[in-house]
């Protein structure tokens, strides 16, 4: 299968890169989440008398996806933020026609010699925790900074009105739970009712929201520099606090919510984000978005469990999400809304 995919990829890429002698090699599947199949490969070709070797990534739609995400959205977000100079891989090609590789896909630069932090690792960044934290929270502020229209993303899905960011996202994820729950979810339902009864203030601005900015979705090199922010498939327009709250969530805190994302102290993380983005994390508004973040997590894990249980996507990570992560976020929400024991 890999050999056949290599040949088809080669056939597709050669004209795209104006390199008729292009050869694809070393194609291998790598972990990349349940919503896309991810492969790394090498493309070798000659250009202007020089021999070129490029390390590239193929992200192909699976037969079934955890959350229906738009690869066009993901590709455009990569392009916009790569051009802004953020640590984002260079996107190379987007193909929506299934003829080339059986399903839609896109190709981007591979960032080599890096690692992602596991959410189960107790101290994923070790001596680089401070440096990673400074960059992690600062980059998140920089994502929120530009006007979406100025970077060509003004037509992204999401709220256009600062007063409706919260209700737009709440309705989106409530619908996911309505459609995908396999059994009644009393904590998720109570959270939805609480969020609706206690709306946050209007967003301070409409920003591009990454949608899944967290441990596991960025690459760090051996010196502790963040080299790539990945997985933009849930990018949309909304309240920048949505991304901050998601990144602060205890599930990505490596057992220590006082140091979110396994990095710096929570207050400092928020201050770095505020300074970098020119934004304010007002306490009450952030508290609403943190409850929402855990509910959004539940919705994603409920979907994962359903996909797995019904055999549509039996990636091991879906079983993990639908079991471990679901139980974790139920506990977080029950303690937050019901009062910590």
């Amino acid at each position: 299968m890999i050999d056949e995919l290599s040949i088809r990829l080669q056939t597709y890429l050669a004209p795209k890169l104006a390199a008729p002698d292009l050869v694809v090699s070393d194609l291998a599947r790598i972990p990349g989440g349940a919503s896309r199949e991810t492969y790394r490969f090498r493309a070798r070709y000659a250009k202007d008398g020089k021999s070129i070797e490029r390390a590239l990534i193929l992200r192909r739609d699976p037969a079934a996806s955890l959350i229906e995400t738009d690869r066009t959205t993901e590709f455009r977000a990569y392009r916009a933020f790569h051009e802004l100079g953020l640590p984002v891989p260079e996107p190379i090609a987007l193909e929506l026609d299934a003829a080339a590789l059986e399903r839609p896909f896109f190709i981007m630069e591979e960032i080599t010699d890096c690692a992602v932090g596991s959410i189960l690792a107790p101290d994923p960044y070790g001596p680089h925790r401070e440096k990673v934290g400074q960059q992690f929270w600062s980059v998140l502020g920089r994502i929120a900074k530009p006007d979406p229209g100025d970077i060509g993303l003004g037509d992204f899905d999401g709220a256009r009105d600062r007063t409706t960011c919260w209700s737009h996202e709440l309705a989106r994820w409530e619908k996911v739970i309505d459609e995908d729950e396999s059994e009644p979810q009393p904590i998720a339902r109570a959270a939805i009712r609480w969020l609706r009864r206690n709306p946050p203030p209007p967003a301070q601005k409409i920003s591009v929201v990454h949608g899944d900015y967290r441990t596991g979705n960025f690459l760090v090199d051996a010196k502790g520099d963040i080299r790539a922010i990945l997985d933009w498939e849930m990018a949309h327009l909304g309240d920048p606090l949505e991304d901050l709250a998601w990144a602060l969530d205890p599930l990505w805190s490596h057992g220590d919510p006082a140091h979110p994302a396994g990095t710096v102290a929570r207050d400092r993380a928020i201050a770095i984000w505020e300074e970098s983005g020119g934004l304010c994390a007002e306490t009450q508004a952030l508290a609403w978005w943190e409850i929402f973040a855990s509910l959004k997590g539940l919705a994603i894990w409920i979907s994962a469990a359903r996909e797995y249980a019904e055999g549509r996507n039996t990636e091991a990570v879906n079983a993990f999400s639908g079991w471990y992560c679901l139980a974790f976020h139920n506990k977080v929400l029950a303690d937050r809304l019901g009062g910590a024991p």
Partner: protein, 148 residues
């Protein structure tokens, strides 16, 4: 049975991680197999505690439904709560416990929603009792990650 199922799963997960995963040809296969070994460790935990968790959840939900039924003014809901409160689990099979659990959860949601719409102190106290049940259930179902 000796060895017990949880022991078999735990040892198998360890062998998978230490002996087999390093032999796999690429990081996708290695990563997926590592997650599979986590699933085996979680399954080992659940083998030991699964029936107990569900039976306890069901007993606590029946208790709170019965306790709060008298303050519900919706006759139809009240009757359903009273019937559920005196129901029992016919079997300790996980599938049967899950069926009861889903029915009781649906009633708990209905009760919780109803009380939130009421203005009385009794309703507020009832909400707190429901949250106590939900918090206990969530804590009970939390999984211990490998090494955690």
């Amino acid at each position: 049975m000796k060895p017990e199922v949880d022991q078999i799963l735990g040892i198998s997960a360890g062998q998978l991680m230490t002996s087999l995963v390093p032999l796999l040809p690429n990081s996708y296969a290695q990563g997926s197999s590592a997650v599979l070994s986590f699933m085996m460790l979680f399954a080992a935990q659940e083998y030991e505690r699964g029936a107990e968790i569900r039976a306890t959840d069901n007993a606590e939900m029946r208790m709170v439904l019965g306790l709060l039924a008298p303050i519900v003014d919706d006759a139809e809901l009240k009757k359903k709560l009273e019937d559920a409160a005196i129901s029992t689990d016919p079997s300790l099979l996980i599938s049967k416990l899950n069926q009861s659990n889903a029915h009781l959860r649906a009633l708990l949601i209905a009760l919780h929603t109803h009380l939130e719409s009421q203005g009385s102190d009794a309703a507020r106290a009832g909400e707190r009792r429901i949250w106590d049940v939900l918090k206990a259930s969530a804590a009970r179902r939390l999984l211990n990650p490998p090494g955690g």
